[in-house]
């Protein structure tokens, strides 16, 4: 922009020449507080703390703010909700259920929905916020993983994030079970089946949790205690730790001119970042309010109260519980009866083994990668997914497994909507959950490497200008122009992958036994991890390519100058 900036001050701030009355009073209060709390030292460092800017850094913020909305709307709901399974006869405004026997939990949920002004809004906002909370955590997790933001020194924050996802999921399950309606009761019934399938202590777990035989009359109050006290407390503590570590490590940033591993470039906390983040809180809150007002969510009055002899077709848990439910649907009917005991593999594998296993894999990813690559350095610059093809492919494979399992959780809906056989969908998915991730891994890896090649191409030969030139011989060529310096620098602002350790060297190093085998395995995995990656050009390669490109451009240009469309002297 060509504007005259010679008369512009470097900041928009302006200070009054003499302090106003208000400022004087604020000063007095600040002094009083500082003398007791010593806030000055902490604030000095943090008030202008720098946060880099990128749209993808906002995903975690969505999770944070929707959690705040959950706390606010949740407190409102507790004012009316009665977490009791005492049987009452419904006597509220909703006509179709009047006179029906149900638990106090269900009746008070109906009261909130139909007799408290704004109650249904708050219920729907609470449920929508929960879905957004978990979805935002997942997408934030993917962002962190794909950009390599989990690397040293942030591995522990990755672990905390994984635990937050686990707790958020349990919080969601205990929450949507509270109304004691038919749909959620069916979910609790399934949970009872899961517990009973646990080896040795299964029935004891079930009887202790339900206070006797299912469904008992204690599960709702117990879920309530977990839902409003225990898990939110843990969530709050872990979120606090997550944020403190974020502040301590300082945020990662994308590489670019002036943005290095040693600095962080961005806007200061006060005013810009505080305003943007604070404003974003209102936007998240506002969007959830609109959704709560406009989109129906969990209309429990349509399902009716829980009755263990009833069920609705298309019963499904909330979406984030869908993938284990999908595995539960496609697992073959494996059950072993041996030595008088029953082993229900058909429940244990999808529910008791797979979700904890997925969580452990997720938690282990940063440590696994750093063990394979041998990279123990601190990293603050983000990586593009293409520049770590194997890492990217691992997550895409996991996502494919998740997605297929999740689709299996809706196999009945898919069968109905798409007029397919549920048996065939199930057989297909049984194979697809194994084959799909492998295919996804291979495609993603090769795709990333192709994109790396494309980047190298742009660096070495310039970008495609879209200008086609015809030579006197009739051949066509596209004019390539060199990238602007900033873009070229940004493309090269990444690490060279290390040379993988040579297996022969390790074998010659005199290591023995287990140590040798581990080192050899690591070297082999390292070779696979970096295999076929495209490295950024060296100084010599770049110089040579630039020289070559200049020559080529020159030639093209002289062709244009001499060409038939030029009407230069050569034509005559």
């Amino acid at each position: 922009m060509s504007v005259d900036v010679s008369k512009v001050a470097t900041t928009n701030g302006s200070e009054p020449a003499t302090p106003t009355k208000g400022a004087q009073r604020a000063g007095t209060i600040a002094t009083w507080a500082d003398e007791r709390l010593g806030l000055g030292t902490a604030m000095k460092k943090n008030i202008r703390k720098v946060f880099p800017d990128h749209w993808s850094f906002m995903l975690g913020e969505i999770a944070l703010w929707s959690f705040v909305v959950l706390l606010l709307t949740g407190v409102f709901l507790t004012l009316w909700f009665d977490p009791s399974m005492t049987e009452v006869q419904y006597d509220g405004s909703y006509d179709p259920l009047r006179g029906v026997h149900m638990s106090s939990a269900m009746a008070s949920t109906l009261e909130i929905s139909f007799d408290v002004r704004g109650g249904l809004l708050m219920r729907q906002m609470h449920h929508w916020a929960a879905m957004i909370f978990i979805a935002a955590m997942m997408i934030h997790l993917l962002r962190v993983y794909f950009t390599g933001a989990f690397r040293k020194p942030r591995e522990l924050n990755w672990v905390i994030g994984c635990l937050l996802l686990l707790l958020g999921t349990i919080e969601g399950f205990t929450g949507y079970s509270l109304p004691d309606d038919l749909l959620s009761g069916t979910g609790v019934r399934a949970a009872d089946g899961f517990m009973k399938a646990s080896p040795v202590i299964g029935t004891y777990m079930s009887f202790f949790l339900f206070g006797g035989e299912f469904p008992g009359d204690t599960i709702i109050p117990r879920f309530y205690a977990m839902h409003i006290l225990l898990i939110p407390g843990l969530l709050l503590a872990l979120i606090a730790a997550h944020m403190l570590l974020l502040v301590y490590h300082k945020h990662t940033q994308w590489p670019g001119p002036g943005r290095t591993e040693q600095n962080v470039v961005g806007y200061p906390m006060l005013p810009v970042y505080a305003a943007k983040a604070g404003g974003f809180f209102f936007i998240v809150f506002g969007m959830i309010a609109l959704m709560g007002g406009l989109f129906s969510m969990n209309p429990v009055w349509k399902y009716g109260p829980y009755d263990p002899s009833k069920v609705t077709a298309g019963s499904q848990p909330d979406w984030y519980m869908g993938w284990p439910d999908g595995l539960l649907r496609i697992i073959p009917a494996w059950e072993t009866h041996i030595w008088g005991v029953t082993l229900s593999w058909n429940v244990m594998i999808p529910i008791l083994v797979m979700p904890p296993l997925m969580l452990m894999v997720l938690i282990a990813l940063p440590f696994l990668e750093s063990w394979i690559t041998g990279d123990k350095r601190e990293h603050h610059l983000l990586q593009r997914p293409r520049n770590a093809p194997t890492r990217t492919a691992i997550m895409v494979a996991l996502m494919t497994f998740y997605g297929l399992s999740w689709a299996a959780g809706g196999n009945d809906i898919i069968a109905i909507k798409m007029h397919l056989s549920i048996n065939q969908i199930t057989y297909f998915l049984r194979a697809a959950v194994f084959i799909g991730p492998v295919i996804a891994f291979i495609i993603t890896r090769r795709w990333c490497i192709s994109l790396q090649r494309h980047d190298a191409e742009k660096l070495l030969h310039g970008y495609e200008s879209g200008v086609l030139v015809r030579s006197p011989e009739g051949g066509y060529a596209e004019k390539h122009l060199p990238l602007p310096l900033e873009k070229a620098y940004t493309l090269t602002a990444r690490d060279h992958d290390p040379e993988p350790e040579k297996v022969e060297q390790i074998e010659a190093s005199g290591l023995e036994g287990r140590k040798l085998r581990v080192r050899r395995l690591r070297a082999r995995l390292q070779a696979l991890f970096f295999a076929d990656n495209v490295q950024k050009p060296t100084v010599e390669e770049l110089h040579e390519a630039q020289h070559h490109a200049e020559h080529e451009l020159h030639e093209l240009e002289s062709q244009i100058a001499a060409g038939p469309n030029r009407h230069g002297p050569a034509d005559h």
Partner: protein, 377 residues
Amino acid sequence: MSDAPDTHSGDHGGELALPEPIADPGLPAHTWRPTDVDPAKEKRAERQVAGLFALSALSTIAFVVAYFTLDVGDNWHVVAGFGASTMALGLTLGLALLFIGVGIIHWARKLMADHEIIEMRHPARSTDEDREAAVDALNTGLAESGIGRRPLIRNSLLGAVGLLGVPTVVMLRDLGPLPGDKLYHTIWGRGGETITRDGQQVTLPKMRISRDAIGTPILASDLEIGDLVNAQPEVLYNPERYEVDPTEVEGVHLQVHKSKASLILLRMDPRDIKPGKAKDGSSRENWSVDGIVAYSKICTHVGCPISLNERTTHHLLCPCHQSTFDLADSGKVVFGPAGRPLPQLPLEVDEEGYLVAQSDFDEPVGPSFWERDYYER
């Protein structure tokens, strides 16, 4: 400072840092926004921000008006299925919040200084001096406590504190009763039981099968071929007949009974039935009445009530995880994750022609559990 982020040596295959192909051109120059250089545009942005805040205030007022003027109740189908009150409150609250958010962000983007600033990073680790000082302090503290020199104190403390874990676990004992044999029996077994009344042995009538919800007992002649009926034991509706205290079939007790006793009754062509074997090895030949069979409604997978009937094949599908059972063939699993057939309830008719259960199920109903097969011993 071997871990400093700027070193490219690290433990990284001993690779030497290569020179960068392109040197860092440094932060690009700051560009000015129209609002920085044009006072008119600055004023306009200021008015826009204030305008957004004013719109928020108006929305909040509209929220309060909607709160007091619109009714709640089951008029939620008013206004395109959303409910007037809920929709108006959500809309006004949402707009009130959004206008504030958009206003603040507009303010930040147009009017707050937009100079990017630079902060230097430091390695996450503490300095070597700090580490040494911390270790010294720790060692001094431990030495002064004498914990290393007095293993008796240390070990007895660890033992005592460790033992406190026991009350934590023991205190949870009263969360619920032990399972006992509860999972092996259902209230169907109450029919035909011999009880002692006023010092005399009395045999109770066999348990009639009642229609779910309305509770009327079912005559064998009531059912046509292809009819499927959700049924419950009559005791849940008529406890006196079985000498059961009515409070035993109310509230939570009712739910517990239903979670085990719920029944599916299906009449098919008697020639379609392939009688299997009972748990004791005898044939199930006499378990049906004129093609009427009764099976537990509780899925043997994780316990959902099974409900979807395929009339032509006598297949019954569980809507939760799609386990499919063949009711003509001893409730065998023909598809899906369930590991065991549905338990069958042996039927007969009483002197009045009503369907009754010969006995309880001969195996536990519902989802599998570890010690399930002990029942057979």
